[in-house]
């Protein structure tokens, strides 16, 4: 397995337990001594220095697919399994992770191999989020070690499960602050037979959002709606005849506009690049991920551009990617009711990755973290205190 060795070696005492029991024992000891640790999957997103820790713990030795049942649309894998391995195994059966997890390596310049555990910890999703949901919507169950060293399971491997509290949702997107995932069960879905994309060149952000709003109100199951460098893109997927039909109907809907159609492999590459925000990779500036109400996006984009830098859209306008030199305070002010998360700090402080929560939510979140991790040993400081 290729792991970003340099990132891991930069921290003292890298620990890579061989299995769940060894990890549980290590965490239990760390709990007793209150020694903090930084948790890494493939190390593609952990920036040494962003967490004050004595140990770097990796799940690299806890990898492998436990079961994959294409007929039941379920896959169970150990947390350290590389995302690539999972995607290859699924593709061989004509299936995929429908939420289209983005690959952060392009914008972060990191080298490790993203793991399935890291993906779940950060709730990583891509353009298909608008149609298929996020990673958290496809997570069926988890196993993890909590901050006392207890081995916990929650959920399971079936499509529908309301047995007890849903802790998988909490773990997903908790960036390792609640527990160390050891195993995840995910729902898989059939890959679409084919896809096509409609490009609308020379449009403003406001026109782009108008196009998205109109397209996403149709029944054509638009599975991508993004805007970058003056072009708005819509994606449709399905079987051949279906895709042609949907493209035709969308062209009718926007008959006054110039439209380029991109098909098959070219369309796939286009969305992979949009997914990974490759267009902002070359700059040195900070990169922000901003959640926003789609119809507010054009005004917020204008406000952001006043600060210098560039912005693009995904999720039908519900997600703004912004790259620019502005301070965190200026960006958060410009986004108003939106929520801005710092994905690549550039020259900004990495202590400021997450937007502040309202006070009640912050209090509940802190109490939850204390419940999972009483001694505060998991990624301390990463998501606030």
């Amino acid at each position: 397995m290729s792991i970003d060795e340099s990132a891991i070696k930069a921290l003292p005492y890298p620990v890579s337990p061989a299995d769940e029991a060894e990890l549980a024992a290590f965490v239990g000891e760390s709990h007793a001594r209150a020694t903090p640790m930084c948790i890494a999957g493939g190390g593609t997103r952990v920036q040494p220095g962003s967490v004050e820790a004595e140990h770097m713990v990796t799940t690299r030795n806890m990898s492998g697919i436990v079961t994959y049942e294409p007929g039941a649309l379920t896959l169970i894998a150990r947390a350290g399994t590389s995302l690539q391995e999972v995607e290859d195994v699924l593709a061989a059966e004509g299936q995929a992770l429908a939420f289209e997890p983005m690959d952060h390596r392009a914008i972060l310049g990191s080298k490790g191999a993203p793991t399935i555990g890291g993906m779940v910890s950060a709730n990583v999703s891509g353009p298909r989020r608008i149609q298929a949901g996020a990673c958290r919507d496809h997570l069926l169950g988890v196993r993890f070690i909590d901050g006392r060293g207890r081995t916990i399971k929650n959920g399971g491997r079936v499509m529908k499960n309301v047995t007890g509290l849903d802790l998988g949702k909490l773990l997903c997107g908790s960036y390792g602050t609640l527990g160390v995932l050891t195993e995840v069960a995910l729902k898989t879905l059939p890959l679409a037979e084919t896809e096509k994309s409609l490009g609308f060149p020379g449009v403003t952000p406001r026109e782009a959002v108008e196009i998205f709003v109109a397209a996403l109100a149709t029944s054509f199951e638009v599975s991508g709606a993004a805007f970058h460098a003056g072009t708005a893109w819509l994606r449709v997927e399905g079987f051949e005849a279906q895709v042609d039909y949907r493209v035709g109907r969308l062209k009718e809907l926007f008959s006054g506009r110039e439209i380029d159609v991109v098909a098959h492999a070219a369309s796939r590459n286009l969305w992979r690049d949009l997914r990974d925000v490759r267009h902002f990779a070359p700059s040195e500036d900070a990169i922000w991920r901003i959640l926003i109400k789609p119809t507010d996006a054009p005004d917020v984009m204008a406000a952001l551009r006043q600060l210098g830098g560039e912005a693009s859209l995904d999720w039908g306008g519900g997600l703004i990617w912004f790259s620019g030199p502005a301070s965190s305070a200026a960006v958060r002010k410009a986004v108003g009711a939106g929520r801005a998360m710092l994905v690549r700090p550039g020259s900004l402080s990495a202590a400021d990755l997450f937007p502040p929560e309202n006070s009640a939510v912050a209090r509940i979140s802190a109490a939850l973290r204390k419940t999972f991790d009483p001694a505060g040993i998991f990624n301390p400081g990463l998501m606030g205190n």
């Binding site: 529908k160 499960n161 949702k169 109400k293 509940i364």
Partner: protein
């Protein structure tokens, strides 16, 4: 005698009943508080009607602020609270105790905001599930989760139980269609989580609340994701002469890469009851699948053709496609009234375990065998596409010992679900019904962390506290909680 125990009521609270009612009446409008047993009778049970208990009082607020005020009184006076929607829970989730106050949100029925451009609606949670989609009809949108009880059940109940429905195979269950909530904490504090944005950025507290069965807070408002209506939809009926073959057909359709909106299963016992009730014209055979596909006319025909090919390999006794809107309506009416129709045959216990789709044929066979062992008839009607089974165990409540026998049979089926890799409940929730089976699925640690989380939200264990967690396991938490 029913076999599920509830804790003894707190005599101290019962002694203070009149003071409690007085204080409640002072903070919400007088007509919102009910304590006359004649009137509270309507709230003594939910759809798990074998279990009944009159609450101390019922409060029916019209605003979040009133819910908060009533909750504050109960918090100060240490009175247990039972959150309630329409009372259609099949798991006893809304069952009161004698020392409890029911806070029901069914009078909170306002649609607060419809925003089709950003694809969400915001509602008070007392609106019924069906009325949300009805409100959206003119705009061409709908709200996807569609429990069979949708005419009656509330969005609050749907959120509490993370309810599903026939069309969830494609569009997901409640948690996949919920964007935000306003909730009243056990302390009475009002807290907003999420909203019209597509994801949160901190811990997914919304995801934790959905499906928490009234254990953590009272949910009073919700922001729901809405979807454009499909161009068209059409169900087909596929009949088989054996349950296992029908189960096999489900597994093959799922495997094929097609994603129908719904795959529903009904067996012969159910078919007879439904045909007598809804006159749906179902074929007479061992098992029928209702498979619905969506899209344009061509898209629909293409999918029907592919499903026909898959089914043909298994020699169905009948393959029938709905020819018009009227027939489609009839097909679905039969399915959606299945529980009601079964009710006319007598008493039944409805189970809700979920298994991997590939295990359906085995499960159907084992349930049939167990039915003979227990000498009780079973009807199977369920959401087959996602493996969510609903065996209905028929019994006669007036025959001594039959309910106990039915419950034991049910417990055996649920254990079997867990043994083949499934779970105790797919969409109805644990409530009191599956409470004591939780140890089959979860270890002591698995349950402990869930109860510790409840304590974060509800340190005094006032909210729905004798449910979800096995009584023995929750006892230390319930005992520790200070009662005023």
């Amino acid at each position: 005698m029913p076999t599920i125990a509830m804790p003894e009521p707190d005599l101290g609270i019962l002694a203070r009943a009149s003071q409690i009612i007085e204080r409640l009446t002072a903070v919400v409008s007088a007509e919102a508080v009910i304590s006359d047993p004649q009137e509270t009778r309507a709230y003594e049970c939910d759809a798990l009607a074998a279990y009944r208990c009159l609450p101390l009082a019922v409060v029916l607020p019209r605003t979040t602020e009133e819910v908060s005020a009533a909750m504050k009184v109960c918090h100060e006076m240490g009175v247990p609270v039972i959150p309630r929607g329409a009372g259609t829970s099949l798991a006893g989730g809304a069952l009161p105790t004698a020392d409890s106050v029911v806070i029901g949100i069914m009078r909170m029925r306002d649609i607060l905001e419809i925003d089709t451009a950003n694809r969400f609606v915001r509602v008070q949670t007392g609106v019924t599930n069906l009325s949300v989609s009805a409100e959206l009809e003119a705009s061409g949108f709908f709200y996807a989760p569609d429990p069979s009880s949708q005419l009656a059940c509330t969005i609050a109940g749907n959120i509490a139980m993370n309810s599903g429905g026939a069309h969830c195979l494609k569009h997901g269950v409640t948690t996949n269609n919920l964007m935000g909530i306003r909730m009243v904490m056990a302390s009475g504090e009002i807290v907003d989580i999420g909203g019209p944005l597509l994801s949160g950025s901190g811990l997914d507290i919304l995801g934790l609340l959905c499906g928490s069965e009234g254990q953590l807070a009272i949910v009073t408002e919700a922001t729901l994701r809405i979807l454009p209506r499909p161009e068209g939809a059409r169900p087909m009926l596929i009949g088989f002469d054996s349950a296992e073959t029908a189960g096999e057909c489900v597994a093959r359709i799922v495997r094929s890469g097609l994603l129908p909106v719904a795959i529903e299963y009904m067996d012969d016992v159910c078919l007879r009851a439904v045909d007598a009730f809804a006159n749906a014209g179902y074929p007479k055979c061992a098992a029928v699948l209702i498979v619905e596909v969506e899209g344009s006319e061509d898209e629909i025909l293409h999918q029907i053709m592919r499903i026909r090919q898959i089914a043909a390999e298994l020699n169905p006794v009948e393959f029938r496609t709905s020819r018009n809107a009227d027939e489609s309506l009839k097909i679905w009416k039969g399915r959606k009234s299945a529980f009601g129709a079964m009710g006319r045959l007598g008493d039944y216990l409805c189970l809700d375990g979920t298994v991997p789709v590939s295990k359906l044929p085995y499960m159907l066979k084992r349930i049939g065998e167990l039915s003979k062992d227990y000498g009780l008839e079973v009807a199977n009607v369920f959401h087959a596409g996602d493996g969510n089974m609903h065996p209905l165990i028929l019994f006669n409540a007036n025959a001594p010992g039959e309910l106990e026998r039915a419950e034991a049979f049910g417990a055996d089926i649920l254990r079997l679900c867990v043994d083949v890799g499934g779970c105790l409940t797919g969409e109805h929730g644990v409530g009191i019904e599956k409470r004591d089976l939780m140890t089959k699925q979860y270890s002591a640690d698995d349950l402990a962390i869930q109860m510790e989380i409840k304590s974060v939200f509800d340190p005094d264990w006032l909210l729905n506290s004798a449910k979800v967690f096995p009584l023995e396991a929750s006892k230390p938490y319930r005992d520790k909680a200070v009662r005023g």
